[in-house]
Symmetry: C2
Subunit: 482 residues, 2 copies
Amino acid sequence: MTAQRVDITLVLRRGLAEDTDGITHNLTMLIRRAVARGDVSPGERLPPSRKLAADLGIARGTVGNAIDTLVAEGLLETRVGAGTFVAEAAACLGRPVANRKRPAFKQEPRRLVSPDIDGPATAKIDFRPCRPSLAEFPLKTWRRSVSFASASLPSPDYGDAKGQLALREAVCDYLRRARGLNTSPNNVIVTNGALHAMHLATTLYLERGSRVVVENPGYPLARQMFENAGAEVLTCPVDEHGLITEELPRKTGKLKFVYVTPSHQFPTGSRLSLARRRALIDWAERCGVLILEDDYDGEFRYDVPPLVPMAAMDNHCVIYFGTFSKTMFPGLRIGFAVGPRSLIDAMAALRTFSEYAPNDLNQRALAHFIENNHYERHIHRMRRVYGEKRAALAKAVDELGVGADLVGIDSGLNAMVRLPEKLRGRTVAAAARKDGVLVPSILRYAASRSIRDDALIVGYAAPAIGEIREGVRSMLRAHAPA
Amino acid sequence: MTAQRVDITLVLRRGLAEDTDGITHNLTMLIRRAVARGDVSPGERLPPSRKLAADLGIARGTVGNAIDTLVAEGLLETRVGAGTFVAEAAACLGRPVANRKRPAFKQEPRRLVSPDIDGPATAKIDFRPCRPSLAEFPLKTWRRSVSFASASLPSPDYGDAKGQLALREAVCDYLRRARGLNTSPNNVIVTNGALHAMHLATTLYLERGSRVVVENPGYPLARQMFENAGAEVLTCPVDEHGLITEELPRKTGKLKFVYVTPSHQFPTGSRLSLARRRALIDWAERCGVLILEDDYDGEFRYDVPPLVPMAAMDNHCVIYFGTFSKTMFPGLRIGFAVGPRSLIDAMAALRTFSEYAPNDLNQRALAHFIENNHYERHIHRMRRVYGEKRAALAKAVDELGVGADLVGIDSGLNAMVRLPEKLRGRTVAAAARKDGVLVPSILRYAASRSIRDDALIVGYAAPAIGEIREGVRSMLRAHAPA
């Protein structure tokens, strides 16, 4: 305690004047600090709140609120008819608390690379990949499923870490019917999106020094996730038949995962051939490596025959990741993994320790939506919509006659536009950006320098057909023959 | 390829007879395996599906479905008028795939302790702690908030890793008004329950060899989570004023966290005194340790004055965890953390890598529910309901005259019943279980052997008042004076 008398009003007024950190009139904190510093002592009376408010030039209600809080806290006491006093219990505050700008907690957190994600952006036309079109979303039907899901009293339990059985059953039925993947609910875990499923597997298996093979170019966030787990990331090139399996590493020490997008390589759009699928599985079995099969938009094919997931090829070294972010909407945050029972069980145990179980409402609504066939009807409709958009994109690119080509198979929500010899992807992307068109160069997805900057990645799902035409013209017009 | 001719029908019939793993008639897999083994060769014709079905004694539709799947996969081809053939592409399958019972993937996952949680149970009366009463849940009002939340078209974006701004603002307003904790939305992260927030902090800061202090007795799942992260868990005893700060470790090397439940110690129900709060903060600041303040049921007080969270005591070494699992329902899976900006930002970055962001629907509905004052009205009502239940519990314990005492402050959803000298908690709990009453001994929450088995932990929130009376009688009657 200080021996010298201090004018509390003066202290508070100075404090309020200094308060520049955005929390206006944080009187509560200032009084607390004054007590802690000993500017006012236990047993001492505060000025009447009316006077304090007037002297400080703030509303009397603000003062009243601060005092109420501190009374509740036990720092101040109100004696009826006598005013507000610093409580005797406040003596224990003793040592002043320093007004630190940095946390006293000095530990450094685990170093993470900065997440490489596409945030919300305001652009005239947004060709960034993986964004579904929501204009056709069957909102009314979905709301009926949500209403159904919220109709019964909530349970007092925390739920199943693998996800609700009804949803896992609906997912199994759908996979069997639509994707030719036979599995059982015990081999499925419902996750908060496909990334979450990958994160669970990553946390279970990767440690400092582990190695992971990724496609190059590929999905940046997956690569970063493996790096954050301390793994060394090895890259393997892709061509028009997907991952070039001949280029898989020979030395397989500490190799844990190979991460692939076989149904529609991200971002080039190629599909892993049957022969390479076989070769990849052989390699993985030989090396004891787990194949992470990310089927992020395999629901959408237009003129190509379907191919079942690698997970259906009767083996035990594939974990399959699916998502509802593209077929429904990203904010639903539901995906799933299908894999060997022991692996799915370990993921569920880890999930228990991180959040118990997924939330009830979205799971229940989605199960209802799938069971009532709305999901497949929606996919069917979107397949047509996206097919038309893709055709419009191809036509627009072709008509400009700049020698650019749409490549990759006819599926998914993204396509690759191969640029003519003389053009660089980054140059075209930068010019397009000035015209309000967001379209990434293929380099955006490069895991190493070995990628040639000769293509743009065009997400054509979200823009309207007119916007696609306009966007392509903005992108490529300057490079068209005069 | 085998040189010898094989009768495919025979192979399949044998396979179907052997199929004991629950996936009935997995014909698809059997045909695939037969092709992979070379039992049938590329170019070879399969028997007509009608004949195959009859010979195998299964439905023709089952055979048709299997063939459709394999045609889609590219393994079989249907030639119009000629039948179904093994595709030439199947040649690449070459090497037979072994029919392994265990995954080829040989890596061992990170070893996790088995989660110590209370699952769903069927009991006449369930006194296990932390289960809210849902009979009074305002379902209609909540459904209006859900309906509001689902009224607009979903966004094509993945959302904010810290949670929606509207919900963070609603949480801040609530904390300021109801708990005396002043903070800003930038210092808040919305998580999938409080456990999820703790998991994010744990993943950021703990590594093999780190040390964490926990209360003893305390919350088993938090303790296990720290252990799973490789940390050494040190225990600190509690008494009727909460954590005994004098017993905090002197040696603080590698000490990262101290995990406490100051507003209502779990499971003993005591409250950390102001003097000890000060001492704990001093200790944490001196040692550079982060205080994890878990306020799991602080909303419910009955006859005791409120105390603001430690996080409100003007310092920078506390992270505060709140949850909606007890005030709303566990399946909502929403909680939050309030802490220094740098820490909350790091948690948000880690969240991005594990699941992008929380789901849209529940956040939007909850923000609407809080903003429209339904949340505080519900808490107010439940405070009365729980207060009555607690009084009924106290009366029932008292009336039996066995010398048992209800202890802990008048708050929360759980109370501790201190047993008379001669009785052991586990003995009483085991006898109660036989009568259909689930009630844990205090040992259930012991982090070390040093806890005396002299109490039961009674969750009185969920059972009805009549059940509470009956349950107490079942529990203690045998021990009443004759």
